[in-house]
């Protein structure tokens, strides 16, 4: 599936990501978590090719990412960011259909796929003709997800997709997203800074600190056997009860 092999990156002499390897398990949700500046954004930007690694490589289904196949590889990745990254001048429908049109899908196929996806993300079909400015935060994210899923990508990458939403809308969307990931059996990489959200989604949590993977596994493993003092501190900062406290 998606694989990072000894990927590293420095900016102006400062190492933001030490050589790191990571494999996403097919059909599973991997959550990348860590404090700000830990390198999680850098890692995601390396995967989608917005940054080029200083060493190592990224590969998708055995094929390495290079500057030459970058665009073709991107068509096989779905990418969702805060607020959905929707283009304000295009209607929801046009945002979602943009790449399919470039790939010369015919109108019937596009419209069928739109109906399918709207139902999947539970977006009322009449909202598709609205512009982003006329949609709520949660609706925008649903449209953003439709856009990412349009070409049925091999992997879905989500960069803090719920950070800007208020708690009730967020909980609603979290439920729906989890259901969708399970139904589609997508390989998912979700970046968040919220441990509750991470635990809710993750088959595996990958904790990043100061440009390295500090520990990975399920939350229970992290709690039971923190790999370092940093893991313990990070978890308690997230108000996750540690083993000693649970026993009390």
């Amino acid at each position: 599936m998606l694989e990072l092999v000894n990927v590293s990156k420095s900016y102006q002499g400062r190492t933001v990501l030490h050589p790191t390897s990571l494999t996403l398990q097919p059909g599973q949700t991997t959550v990348l978590i860590g404090p700000s500046g830990c390198g999680k954004s850098t890692l995601l930007r390396l995967i989608v090719g917005l940054l080029e690694p200083d060493s190592g490589h990224v590969s998708l289904a055995g094929e390495r990412l290079t500057p030459y196949n970058l665009r073709a590889m991107r068509l096989r990745m779905g990418y969702v960011i805060q607020e959905g990254g929707l283009f304000p001048h295009l209607s929801a429908r046009d945002n979602v259909a943009l790449v399919a049109r470039q790939q010369r899908w015919d109108a019937a196929r596009i419209s069928q796929r739109l109906d399918e996806l709207a139902e999947l993300v539970r977006l009322p079909a009449e909202l598709l003709d609205r512009y982003p400015a006329q949609l709520s935060g949660g609706q925008k994210q649903r449209v953003g997800l439709m856009r990412a899923l349009m070409l049925d990508p091999a992997v879905l990458l989500l960069d803090e997709p719920m950070a800007a939403l208020d708690p009730m809308v967020r909980a609603d969307l979290q439920d729906d997203l989890k259901g969708i990931f399970e139904r589609l059996r997508k390989t998912v990489l979700l970046v968040t800074h919220d441990m509750g959200e991470a635990d809710f989604f993750a088959h595996r949590i990958v904790l990043l600190g100061e440009g390295r993977i500090v520990q990975s596994g399920q939350l229970a493993e992290l709690v039971r056997q923190p790999a370092s003092e940093f893991v313990g501190r990070f978890l308690s900062a997230q108000r996750v009860p540690m083993l000693g406290e649970v026993e009390k």
């Binding site: 090719g49 665009r71 990418y79 304000p88 790449v99 512009y131």
Partner: protein
């Protein structure tokens, strides 16, 4: 059949035969003489066009050298002291030889002398007993308002000041303003031309050049050596026919008695050569209305054509500047520098390449339109949020699709605002077209200033202001069509 063919050929002949191009400077005497040359040529069977009110000696002389003009009236002093001053011609033969190197011939004198002179109001001259320039030396309190040209010319004020030891410190301004100042009492002495109608109109006394310092300015024809000899013969039939008194009277007919230059020229040709005026004369109001209508078309064409070309050129330049920082520095720097070139200098520089009339005016307007459009395109693209630019990239859109479907639509409000700025500025700047015979409202304004005729000045200035307002309005409407609805919603 044969006859039809002949008619067609004759028609084609009139369309394709190059008419003789007559030029004139932007003062009344020159325009009358230009009209006179045109009507004389037409009456003798040579089609001619008059490019009147061209903005300055250099524009006419360069136009003649480059073959864009065939003939105009020049003054000998201007030739020796200004146009060919560096070659220091010592005699008339010297002058002819120098002109021949540029493919130009000079006629004999037309008859009148139009010298620079100093004029003072009659009442003042009588009160102070002023008769000659040397009398001014003992009246240091007199205020001088001189035309900028006279103030700067080597054969003008600097020469007088040195030779007559004049103590006054003159102020420079336009000829018309200087005369207005004299009338209003803000100044007491100004430079005039000896054939000037203003001498009569403002009741001035000409101070005698008692030391003979100012060079004699004989009027002569300058024409291209390659003109057919029969045309040259027609032109040269004017030699010796215009006395100083006649020329002064003709100038006053226009400036004081408000006849058109064409009518004044026609009546002289009728007296002198017995040529019957062919064109029916129009009433002044009719003439002004037609002129404004024609100027509107010319002005609008200048603005729209130059703006269209500027958009085609400037938007890609703005995109290139955005894509590559080094290209950006060069492009933005260059269009910025272009903006600072004075319009007159730009026009004079363009004449050797593009000649007179519309082409150089269009190119000048195009160049002046670049800055707002390039800068707003660049700025509009730069202001697109990084998250949107990266979203477009990660989606896997091709660079072209990103530009056309995402970046340009997002930058469209800024680009459109740049084009609007250029359009409004262009309406104002297009008045410079009049300096090189491209017509437009500037022609009305310049002529109005020359003739001190407010109807003409307003006839140019008011429609120009209205056109600028109309541009503003049209672009506000265009914004509704061009800027995507979603963007307008997003901006609230």
């Amino acid at each position: 059949m044969k006859r039809a063919l002949f008619v067609m050929l004759a028609f084609a002949g009139t369309v394709f035969a190059q008419p003789i191009a007559v030029g004139s400077k932007e003062f009344t005497e020159s325009v009358i003489l230009g009209e006179m040359l045109c009507q004389l040529l037409e009456a003798r069977g040579h089609p001619a066009v008059h490019q009147s009110d061209l903005g300055g000696t250099q524009i006419l002389f360069q136009g003649l050298r480059n073959g864009r003009l065939d003939v105009y009236v020049e003054y000998t002093g201007t030739l020796t002291q200004e146009l060919l001053a560096n070659a220091r011609p010592r005699s008339a033969d010297d002058l002819r030889r120098l002109l021949a190197q540029d493919g130009i011939s000079m006629s004999e004198h037309l008859g009148f002398v139009n010298n620079y002179a100093l004029g003072v109001p009659r009442a003042l001259a009588e009160k102070r007993g002023l008769r000659a320039i040397s009398d001014l030396r003992s009246h240091a309190d007199l205020r001088f308002a001189l035309s900028n040209e006279f103030l700067g010319r080597k054969d003008g004020w600097p020469l007088l000041e040195r030779r007559y030891q004049l103590p006054q410190r003159p102020t420079g301004m336009s000829h018309e303003t200087a005369l207005a100042g004299l009338r209003g009492g803000q100044s007491e002495v100004t430079d005039v031309y000896t054939t000037d109608a203003e001498i009569e109109k403002y009741d001035l006394v000409i101070l005698n050049d008692d030391q003979g310092v100012l060079p004699l300015q004989h009027a002569v024809l300058l024409y291209r050596r390659d003109l057919p000899s029969e045309v040259v013969d027609v032109l040269r039939s004017l030699e010796g026919t215009l006395s100083t008194e006649t020329m002064t009277r003709l100038n006053a007919d226009v400036a004081v008695r408000r006849q058109s230059e064409a009518d004044v020229a026609a009546s002289f040709l009728e007296e002198e050569f017995g040529i019957q005026a062919t064109e029916p004369t129009q009433s002044p109001n009719e003439r002004l209305a037609r002129w404004i209508a024609w100027a509107t078309i010319q002005h609008l064409l200048l603005v729209l054509v130059s703006l269209t070309l500027a958009v085609v050129l400037a938007v890609p330049l703005g995109i290139a500047a955005f894509r590559d920082a080094r290209v950006g520095a060069v492009v933005l720097g260059t269009v910025g520098v272009i903006q600072t070139i004075p319009s007159m200098a730009l026009l004079v520089a363009l004449i050797p390449l593009l000649g007179l009339q519309e082409p150089p005016a269009l190119v000048a307007l195009l160049l002046y339109s670049l800055l707002p459009i390039v800068r707003n395109t660049y700025q509009g693209l730069r202001e697109i949020p990084t998250s949107l630019r990266e979203s477009a990239e990660v989606l896997g859109l091709t660079p072209w699709a990103r530009l056309l479907k995402i970046e340009l639509p997002l930058a469209s409000p800024s680009i459109l605002a740049g084009i609007q700025t250029a359009a409004v500025i262009n309406v104002g700047t297009a008045t410079i077209g009049a300096f090189i015979g491209a017509g437009g409202y500037g022609q009305l304004i310049l002529t109005g200033i020359r003739l001190d005729d407010w109807a003409l000045i307003l006839g140019g200035a008011v429609p120009a202001a209205l056109m600028a307002l109309a541009m503003q309005g049209i672009f506000t409407l265009l914004e509704r069509v061009i800027v995507p609805r979603g963007l307008r919603l997003a901006r609230g």
